[in-house]
Symmetry: C2
Subunit: 436 residues, 2 copies
Amino acid sequence: MNIILLSGGSGKRLWPLSNDIRSKQFIRMLSDEKGGFESMLGRVYRQISAVDAQARITIATGKKQVSLIKNQLGDRVSVCVEPCRRDTFPAICLAASFLRDVQGVGEDEAVVVCPVDPYVEASYFEALKEMAGMAQGGSANLYLMGIEPTYPSEKYGYIIPKSAERVSGVDTFREKPDVATAEKYIAQGALWNGGVFAFRLGYLLRKAHERLTFTDYQDLYARYAEMEKISFDYALAEREKEIRVLRFGGQWKDLGTWNTFSEAMADNVLGRAALNETCENTHVVNELNIPILCMGCSDMVIAASSDGILISDKEQSSYIKPYVEQIEQQVMYAEKSWGSFTVLDVQEDSLTIKIVLLPGHALHYHSHEHRDEVWTVMSGRGKAVIDGTERKVGPGDVISMPAGCRHTISADSELKVVEVQIGKDISVEDKCKHEL
Amino acid sequence: MNIILLSGGSGKRLWPLSNDIRSKQFIRMLSDEKGGFESMLGRVYRQISAVDAQARITIATGKKQVSLIKNQLGDRVSVCVEPCRRDTFPAICLAASFLRDVQGVGEDEAVVVCPVDPYVEASYFEALKEMAGMAQGGSANLYLMGIEPTYPSEKYGYIIPKSAERVSGVDTFREKPDVATAEKYIAQGALWNGGVFAFRLGYLLRKAHERLTFTDYQDLYARYAEMEKISFDYALAEREKEIRVLRFGGQWKDLGTWNTFSEAMADNVLGRAALNETCENTHVVNELNIPILCMGCSDMVIAASSDGILISDKEQSSYIKPYVEQIEQQVMYAEKSWGSFTVLDVQEDSLTIKIVLLPGHALHYHSHEHRDEVWTVMSGRGKAVIDGTERKVGPGDVISMPAGCRHTISADSELKVVEVQIGKDISVEDKCKHEL
């Protein structure tokens, strides 16, 4: 099976664990099969491989997420990166072109597109396989997944099928309705639009060419900004006559809010937290290394990370987005392809961060115009290159880098370093990369 | 007026802002008169000076609090330090002896003893002055303050006066009762025992000699451990026949729990926090430099510091102590006589802290046996002494101190330093002080 996983999202709704860099699909809070924790991305990737060990998985995403995806899945994963943000239709066209021109997938092969973050069981991926089979051999151009609704949600689009059969034609699509309208749709037999599409590669590429003429993947990539911002639903699904919907009644959850996310947690507490016996139906996720004590909390969700602390009634937590947008906070923690960084201290003329470099990885060779930096190695072994001169480093070693000095560090074993930045107007923009 | 302020307390009840070092009286959360914040200690000290500019104030406390008291009140304050923890009677005897032998107070002068943490107005200190006057000129040996109760509290001892007059004899004392018993006492005209005592210095010293024979303050200090652990109430007040109680009906609050403490806060929020419009009667104190967002919180108190995070229903917050005792957490922030330190990062074989040195102050000259240290100066100017060699330091300067190396640093202007400690079994015990 060829599968395109769409990985987008700005991640305000699961603040403070999600931020501009770490969208919700990257938060490692779900119990994996070995007693540890995995992210939605990790879970979906694992589940697809379990259902189809030969699956060719391509992740379609933006620039910001590439480091994180590689941090979580390793360099083996195939990533198709949008040069700028468009909408789902252009992103799927780019990924389709990537599949043909880079991966060598034939135009008669079926491709399934699926969001990266549904909380589902194996049956969902069995259904994807079935959809791929239908797209490959069936008569329709486009196959959708229709989720059997469990309540009249305002959050999803609805598909009204022509019949109650397992595979049916589509009568019409409906936008996100209010609750009363949703109830009417459901009475008419409507299904949630799960954002899953299956088609033959050639079909999609023809549709792409109707909107933009391009020669191949490289050409489309170069001219990507010319593509109109339009969703796959608007651009294609709602116009296609030869379309079928597969009814899916298995477990399907959208863990998009803290309220729904907490339902998927194996325990009430993740991280350092104690709830006294007067707490009820309260979930705590604590990524900080200080303890949380909850007393007399009912129906609450509490989430703490180096970006901030959320304390919310569970139902209220669905309305978080506008409040988070008002919070000005620099990113305090980020996972990168080479490891991670954590901001430890912010002063007017200095910034102190902790850098964790994974074995075999290195920072870019770079310099800063307006700040001096000092590295103190806490643990691990590696090599630093300072203005072209290489030296070995280990615990207790100190490297001073005045402004203008070119520097990098690489890890032989996992390397933990405290970096003190000193200067006026410290900014992530003040970084000049060099060839080593 | 000679006044002894008793400053004790382990400070579990206002966790995480109070800890083993920072008792509740040191937390700067009360609005001062200039739009800033002051601690209970700072407030009481200021209030006494306003009522009696000539007041001779002595703070009786334990070793752990000396640094903090001097940090908050400056070196001018007179502190009488217990060599070990006893109870209030020995502490008052030591302070009385300190007043006579170190401060030169005459035995016929009156002394007032008062807790360091009542939340009161000027009228309270006017009453103290009146009690001092009565002790000086009156016929009784001991004068107490009886607070007019506002509810049948289980938290206080009760004094049953002989009459309803403003100054009365004492019929009897009662231990902390249950609510029903407290109601009965109040019906009998009982008053709360406010822990305020006034007497002539010679009287108290005679009573001290009945329990331990000593020559002077130095001698008592040396033999302090021999004193029996006993409260002033048991040892003296409940046995004294010539005793009077002054009835006090002014504002008096014991800010000993988060529930009562939050009532004294001028605003619902102290520090970085946002409450959405669905929050009701909720107070937030945030000492962390990350934002807190509260949604749908009712009747809650939220307190965050580098020691931990409390999220509690207000009523439940009174029962915090046993839960806090179960939390194992090293002290992450402490104010010292020379400034403060904050733990930034804890690893298995390293610890990173931020040191803020106040101008004119210095660390002790010291060394460590089992760890290396590295200082990186973030801001400020000062001098470091390393194995006897002095050098000037400023922003960006780095000092490496291998185990065994003797070192100190002093601040010309406020100095901020990142200290990385590296070694196995890092402990505050591993410190050897030296003469400079």
